[in-house]
């Protein structure tokens, strides 16, 4: 039987572009983060250059890793998986390319404008209003193409829409809604605007967006990646499909309630923080259900972790996902929050999710896609193993440094002497942080080095694939 007739040809050009660029942005974004971390340990490293001072560099780092690396990975994996799970090409390859190119231009302009100090001043929503609108439009184009691809599938051969698509759709719909509402503003000049919200409402809307950027962009989207790539790499079906359905609906219902836990002990009504904390604690159940669903997919095949380095990335990501989704709810409880809030513990928590979960699951998926897209083996599997250890040790160093630093910070800030005076000045607490800031920088250097190794390995793989293709053509001629 001629199988080439039954296998559809996919639109993989745009996926290849997004995949390679995601790795480039991973290197750039983690390098910026490491530089920012170094500046906290050694402030002279800002060299008195306004464009790279911590205040600007930190925002450039978050935008590059979240929206450039994370966004490109999500677009690449969404376009890759929607075609394969629904058995057809993209609704519009042209629209996908337009989306990818505009997204790249928007991100570059975003990072440049941030380096020039142009910002709306809203965390994770800093881009000035013209770029803000442009990014929203590009996101809608991406969503439209994805939805139409699913809508155009052959309903007889593909009656059911695989669960990874549900998570992608949930992310796309909710991020559009959250991003647009939080970005509502009145422009007063070409580059400046004022939010339509003010005071406590502004804070509430901001963290309703802020936490859901984590919940829907950095969690739901990457769970979509997990539900497709873990079974594919393990070559085993996901442990329980029904659990994945429960996981999806619980996540969609629960996440939107959590934002207020970022605003404990502020001007917000007390009950909103309590509600945010209560739902956060309840969210441990679906989050761990999802993590277990991914891990138990390996039941009976755990030995593969010895030899499959890509699978190691995916499973380690699930371990960090389980850890971060336990730590977060604990930190949202008022008693713990009184100690942890405004300290480095929060930064450590964010990075256990960002480096351990988001980056590692993305890295696993990207290695998997590179081999499939270019129909080749990797240039070096040993380098993938090396990358795995650099990333894991780097992440652990980073988060342990921030745990110790953060808890010490919190304890120093709340310590009183026998006369009821503060036991430590703020400057003393900053000075005490120095060894941990150095340790965090070392963690960042290791993680960034891993990203550089990955880029090198992928570039060499593509060159190897191209050389093989050229020699095959020559041999045929």
């Amino acid at each position: 039987m001629d199988t080439t007739m039954t296998k559809p040809q996919y639109d993989d050009g745009v996926v290849k572009y997004l995949t390679v660029l995601a790795v480039v942005f991973l290197v750039l974004g983690t390098a910026m983060g490491t530089m920012a971390a170094s500046q906290l340990a050694w402030p002279a490293l800002n060299f008195d250059i306004a464009e790279i001072t911590f205040a600007r560099l930190r925002v450039m780092h978050t935008n590059t890793v979240i929206f450039a690396f994370g966004g490109m990975t999500l677009m690449a994996t969404a376009f890759y998986t929607v075609q394969r799970t629904n058995g057809l090409k993209l609704y519009s390859n042209g629209l996908a390319w337009t989306t990818a190119i505009l997204f790249t231009i928007g991100l570059l302009l975003g990072v440049i404008s941030l380096s020039m100090g142009m910002t709306q001043g809203k965390e994770y929503h800093e881009l000035i209003w013209p770029l803000d609108i442009a990014v929203a439009l590009v996101w809608v184009m991406f969503t439209f193409n994805f939805v139409m691809t699913i809508a155009n599938r052959n309903k007889q051969t593909h009656s059911h829409v695989y669960v990874s698509n549900w998570f992608f759709l949930g992310m796309m719909i909710m991020i559009t809604y959250l991003y647009v509402v939080n970005g509502l503003a009145i422009p007063v000049s070409m580059f400046e605007s004022y939010s339509i919200f003010s005071g406590v409402q502004d804070a509430m809307i901001q963290w309703w967006w802020g936490h859901n950027a984590v919940g829907f962009f950095l969690t739901a989207g990457f769970l979509a990646i997990m539900y497709y790539f873990v079974p594919k790499q393990a070559q085993r079906p996901v442990y329980s499909y029904r659990l994945s359905v429960i996981h999806f609906w619980a996540l969609m219902f629960g996440y939107v309630w959590l934002g207020a836990h970022h605003l404990q002990y502020t001007a917000l009504p007390d009950w909103t923080g309590s509600l945010g904390a209560a739902i956060s604690l309840a969210m441990i159940i679906p989050s761990w259900g999802g993590a277990l669903n991914g891990m138990l997919t390996l039941s009976g095949a755990w030995d593969r972790l010895r030899t499959d380095y890509i699978l190691r990335f995916l499973v380690m990501a699930l371990a960090f996902y389980a850890m971060a989704t336990f730590e977060g709810p604990v930190m949202s409880a008022k008693t713990v929050n009184a100690l942890s809030h405004y300290t480095d513990w929060t930064i450590g928590h964010v990075h256990s999710g960002a480096l351990g979960w988001v980056a590692m699951v993305s890295i696993g998926a990207i290695y998997h896609m590179v081999m499939k897209l270019w129909n080749t083996e990797m240039y070096s599997m040993k380098l993938i193993n090396f990358h795995f250890w650099l990333a894991t040790i780097g992440t652990v160093l980073y988060i342990v440094a921030m745990w110790v630093s953060g808890i010490m910070q919190g304890l120093m800030w709340r310590a009183y002497d026998e006369y009821g005076m503060l036991a430590y000045t703020f400057a003393e607490s900053v000075s005490a942080m120095h060894p941990y800031y150095v340790m965090r920088t070392i963690g960042g250097v290791l993680f960034t080095s891993g990203a550089v190794v990955m880029l090198y390995n992928i570039v060499m793989t593509l060159r190897m694939a191209k050389a093989r293709q050229t020699s095959a053509v020559t041999a045929q001629a």
Partner: protein
Amino acid sequence: MSDKQHYFSTDWAAMTGHDWAGLIVTVLIFFGMAIAFWWALKPSRRKELEEQKYKVLDDD
């Protein structure tokens, strides 16, 4: 009124239109989730749902 009763008490007369809209949407979504859970966990649906997980293994 005990502390607990005080904490959970609601002044229904003070509810604004926004409050009612939020309450109704929340309750409806909660029941929607409960229905989704019932649908997914129904024993008769087990085979139909679980067989979906095999399809992804040979899609490319």
